[in-house]
Each structure stands twice: as C-alpha cells, then as structure tokens.
C-alpha cells in the first residue's frame, strides 16, 4: 500500500514539475523572441528610417513602407469594419437560430484560421488579374488589392466579435425598445450596437493587430515599391513585405533595416492588443 502511495506521489510530483517546466519553456521562448526583436530592433533604430525611402537601399529608410502599411491597413480595416459589423449583427439579431445563420457562423469560425496566403491568391485572381487585363498592364499589383486581401483576413475577426458582443446585450433592452414601438432596424443601429460598442471596437482593434503583421497575402497583391506611393492603384510597399525582402538579402545592413522594421511592427501590434485588452477590461464583458 505504501509502495503504491509512494509511486502515486512520485508520479504526481514528476507530472507537476513537468507541467511547470512546460510553462517555463513557453515563457522562455516568448522572452527570447521579444528580447531579440527589441535588442536587434533598437540597435538598428535611426532617424533615417522615418525620413528616407527604401530606394536608397542600405542608406535608406523605411518611410515608404510605413506609409504603405498605413494606407493598406486603413483600406483593409475600412472595408472589413462596416461589412463585418453588419454581418455580425445579422448573425446575432436576425439569424441567431436559423440554419443559414448557424452555417455562416460556423464557416466564419473556419475562415478565422484559413491560410492567409490562399486569400492573397484569391484577391490576385479577382482584382490583380482583371485590372491588368482591363488597363492593358498599366495597373497590375496595387495597394488597393492588398487592402482587400487584408480585409478578407480581418472580416471573420470582426464578424465573430460583433456577433458575440451583441449576444451579450441583455434581451430586456430589446424588449423595452420594441414595446415602445421602435422598429427593429432602429433598435439595432441606435441601441444594440451602441450597447456593444466597446466590444466591437475591441474586435476591430484585434483585427487591425492581426492584419498589420500579415505578409503572405501582400506579396502578390500590393507587391512592393521602392518609392513613395500614395495612390492606392499603384504598387505599394508595406513593412512586412520589406522585412521579408530585406531579411532574404545577403547584406548585414539590410538585415539591420529588417530588424528595425520588425521592431516597429511588433511594437505596433503589441500596443494594439494591449489597448484592446484595456478597453475590454474597463468595460468588463467577457470575450475569448
């Protein structure tokens, strides 16, 4: 009996130490990755990053990539937010228990982790190829196409958060408004979405954080550009794309620039997810 007891205690102690070790391993890799990004990124920070374009190569900066990233992300989130919020509203308010609603909710969850590179190829097929044919090759890759690709990646995030947040709004609110004779569209737009506002904003911020680091779909849509481009119909550079390009370059100076870009992207993404967390915790609604 005591031998069995001893064995069980030893098994337990070993298993518990292993679980602690697993946690330490996870945290160690997080620390390692963040530490390298900070160290190499801060080491490469320089004023010229923000004043010069990538056309200068080693002596250049990343200004056009940063501007490009902002424009493409803005297009992406600008397209995905209204569509995503409306679609999420339909799922939560109009189709909550219907079969079509359930299927779309289910497929949306799948889309949430669908491979982003396929989304890039999809947008390449529906926007880059037709625009090349229609303009006889004068407009091929474009910042707009990149924005659409990112919108497709942001969309399921926003749909899901909106859907979940609206379903958390107490039904008494709906009943109170309906009993006063408010039509349902007015109830949805003016009361429910307002009540779930902070949750929806969190979803949009999370989606923005998700797309700001996306690289794969931009390679065949926005492509890249060594000069400043403001016109969304032009080829456009973006930070992830330039990081990819510079990291594959053999030169050390290019690697330093890539690290600087990586640092900027990581900080941006981490600040966004921090901000969304703060908004959520201040409003005390649960969300996964």
């Amino acid at each position: 009996m005591s031998a069995l007891y001893l064995r069980r205690r030893i098994t337990n102690a070993v298993a518990m130490s292993l679980s602690m070790l697993a946690t330490l391993v996870g945290l160690a890799f997080l620390a390692w990755i963040l530490w390298e990004t900070l160290r190499q990124g801060i080491g490469a920070l320089d004023l010229k990053l923000f004043t010069k374009v990538t056309a200068y190569g080693e002596d250049g900066g990343l200004l056009n990539s940063m501007v490009g990233s902002l424009i493409i992300n803005f297009i992406g989130i600008g397209l995905a937010t209204p569509i995503g919020v409306l679609a999420g509203t339909w799922l939560a308010e109009y189709a909550n228990r219907t079969r079509l609603g359930e299927s779309i909710r289910f497929l949306n969850d799948i889309l949430l982790s669908a491979p982003s590179i396929v989304m890039g190829l999809f947008v390449y097929t529906i926007i880059v190829l037709p625009s090349t044919t229609l303009t006889h090759g004068s407009t091929t890759f474009s910042g707009f196409a990149g924005g659409v690709a990112l919108a497709l990646i942001a969309l399921p995030v926003i749909v899901r958060t909106t859907d979940e947040m609206l379903r958390l709004v107490p039904s008494t609110l709906r009943e109170a408004a309906l009993s006063l004779g408010v039509p349902q569209w007015k109830l949805t737009l003016q009361i429910l979405i307002r009540a779930a506002r902070s949750g929806i904003i969190t979803g949009v911020l999370l989606a923005l954080a998700r797309i700001s680091g996306e690289t794969a779909p931009l390679l065949f849509t926005a492509f890249g550009n060594n000069y400043m481009a403001f016109n969304p119909m032009d080829k456009m550079s973006s930070l992830p794309q330039i990081i990819y390009q510079y990291a594959n370059d053999p030169g050390d100076a290019m690697h330093a620039l890539a690290w600087a870009g990586a640092f900027v992207v990581t900080m941006f993404v981490l600040l966004l997810s921090l901000a969304s967390r703060l908004i959520l915790s201040r409003n005390k609604v649960s969300h996964d």
Partner: protein, 339 residues
C-alpha cells in the same frame, strides 16, 4: 370638422410611418444578409479561384500531380509531393512538440499555479499568439537556425544520424530503424524541416494551450472535488477526470493548431531552406506548400503559376477539412454543457 381632419391625418401619418418603417426594415435586413453572405462568398471564392487557377496543372498532370516529386520549371513538369510532404512533416513535428507542452501549460494554469499567477502567465502566453508570423520567421532565420546549427545539430548528427562527422555510427543509428536516416545530414546550415517544425510548434502552442485551458475550466468543480475527496492527486485528477471530460474539445484544440500549422507561410518560408527535392532526413532543407507559393509565385508564368494555384487549392481544402473537424469537436463539448 377640424377634429376629424386631424384624426384622419394622424392615422395617415401613422400608416405612412409604419409603411416606411417596414420598407426600411426590409432594406436593412437585406443589407445585413448581404454582408453575411459575403463571408460565405469569400470562402467559396477562395476555393473557386484557386481551383480555376490550377485547372491547367490539374488537367495536364491529373492524379500524377499529387504523387510526383518532380518540380522542374525548365521542363514544365510539376508534382506536389515535395511541398505536400514538407507541409505534413513540419506540421506533424510541430504538433508532436506543441501538444505535450500545451497540455502542461494548461494543467499548470488550471490546477497547479497559485491563483494570482494564473492570469499574468496566461496573458503572457497569449502574447505569443499576437506576435506576427514574420517575426517568428526572422527570429528563426537569424537567431534560432544558427543556434540550432551550432549547438543542437552536431549532437543530433553524431549521436543519432547515419552520416556522423567522424564516420563512426552511434549505437542508436545502427540498431534502431529509420532514426539514422532521419537525423543523418551533411548539409551545413540550420534551416531544415526540423527547425521549421520547432518554430511552428512555438507558434501554435498559444492556440492549443488557450483552448485547453478554457475547456479545462468548464469541468464541473464537483467532479474534481469528488476525485480529490477520494484521495486523487492533482495529476490523477487532470489525467483521469479533466482530460476524459474535455476529450473532444481538446482534440478540437489540437486540430485548430494543426490548421494553423498547415497554412502558416512566413515563419516556415524563412527556416525551411526551400529545396525542391525529397530527403528522408529531418535535418535537410525542404519545402512546404505555402513556402513554395511565397517563393515562386511572383516570378512564375504559365503552367508553373497554375501548378502553384493547384497547390494552394490543395492546401485550402486540407486546412478546411482539418478546421471543420476542429470546430465540430469543439462544439461537442459546448452542446454537452447545454450551450
């Protein structure tokens, strides 16, 4: 007279308004439904566009496309076996590493850690999920792959591989089948299938562990307390009570991680070495579907472009099926709870 007039106009107004409201309501409903259908459209569109783009490759090679390991742009011959093999093996290695670690993290966070420590550690692990994949790729390329080549790879090749530097085969390489081949390599760099698997593992750990932790918390306390009252240890409660109760959702979480790993592009492209030939060794470079597309698509023309599209279609279908299984498994626990 004026009294009835106002009465008529009042009902008129009321009727007009309710008619207007009904019209707006219909418009609004259609608008919302249209937006929701866009979600469906993007899913179908992605599958359709890649299938359409890959039609030339599919019709040129037929089933041979799936089983041929030849990828020769010079002779216009393309087979998917090398990238498919790379995708499957790197994802498998990733799960092999990530599942036990994620389980450990989830057990630690839900059963072992002091309460005040749980939320900060959980948020830190979730921070890993927020880091863009290109950062993993850079870290893998510039930090981890060299580290691996300097410190881990020499040990693996000389103790397990069939091509050790000093020519002496180790006991394991001689007596255990396959191991020698798996770890034998004379390729000098770090970038390899194994490194890609490890980087992928780090990427999917936060996804799997957060699903596991979440479902572990749904286990009714009375179940766990009964087991503790009968004298079970923490490990026995985790393994014999919590895990069986949440089994389907845990499998769902693992499949979710698998779906991520299969479709991951950037982290893998950097550390896989991008060699379009088949090698039994995990320490040799390889290619995955996503890395092949990322590397070749912008310069590809004609049949090569079509072959890449066909690869994308394969990837999309496989991840779709994996994620479908994941969601169905996850849903099973939710329905058990009556949600």
């Amino acid at each position: 007279m004026p009294a009835t007039e106002t009465a008529i106009s009042a009902t008129d107004i009321l009727e007009q308004r309710s008619r207007r409201d009904a019209r707006h309501e219909r418009l609004f409903r259609w608008l919302l439904k249209g937006c929701a259908l866009l979600v469906l459209a993007s899913l179908l569109g992605a599958a359709g566009a890649t299938l359409w783009g890959g039609r030339d490759a599919f019709s040129a090679f037929g089933w041979h496309f799936l089983v041929s390991s030849e990828w020769d742009p010079g002779n216009e011959v393309y087979g998917a076996l090398v990238p498919v093999y790379g995708t499957v093996v790197t994802s498998f290695i990733a799960l092999l590493i990530a599942v036990p670690i994620s389980f450990g993290i989830a057990v630690y966070l839900s059963e072992v850690a002091p309460t005040w420590l749980r939320t900060p550690i959980a948020s830190a692990i979730e921070l890993l999920a927020g880091i863009p994949s290109i950062i993993y790729g850079m870290w893998g390329l510039f930090v981890f792959a060299p580290f691996f080549a300097d410190h881990i790879k020499p040990w693996l090749t000389s103790n397990l591989g069939n091509k050790p530097d000093d020519g002496k085969l180790s006991w394991v390489a001689e007596h255990v089948p396959f191991v020698g081949k798996l770890f034998g390599s004379d390729y000098p760099f770090g970038a390899s299938i194994l490194v890609a698997g490890i980087v992928l593992a780090i990427m999917v750990i936060p996804f799997i562990s957060s699903v596991m932790r979440e479902v572990f918390q749904t286990v009714p306390t009375r179940l766990k307390e009964s087991a503790y009252a009968l004298g079970s240890s923490t490990w026995e409660v985790s393994w014999d009570i919590v895990l069986p109760y949440t089994r389907s959702a845990v499998i769902g979480g693992i499949f979710l991680g698998l779906g991520r790993a299969l479709g991951e592009t950037m982290a893998v492209t950097f550390v896989l070495g991008n060699a379009m030939h088949l090698s039994a060794s995990l320490l040799d470079p390889g290619a995955s579907i996503a890395s092949t597309i990322a590397n070749q698509f912008s310069e590809a023309v004609g049949l090569q472009k079509s072959a890449l599209m066909a690869l994308a279609f394969l990837l999309f279908v496989v991840t779709f099926i994996v994620l479908l299984i994941a969601r169905l498994m996850l849903r099973r626990l939710a329905s058990k709870e009556g949600r």
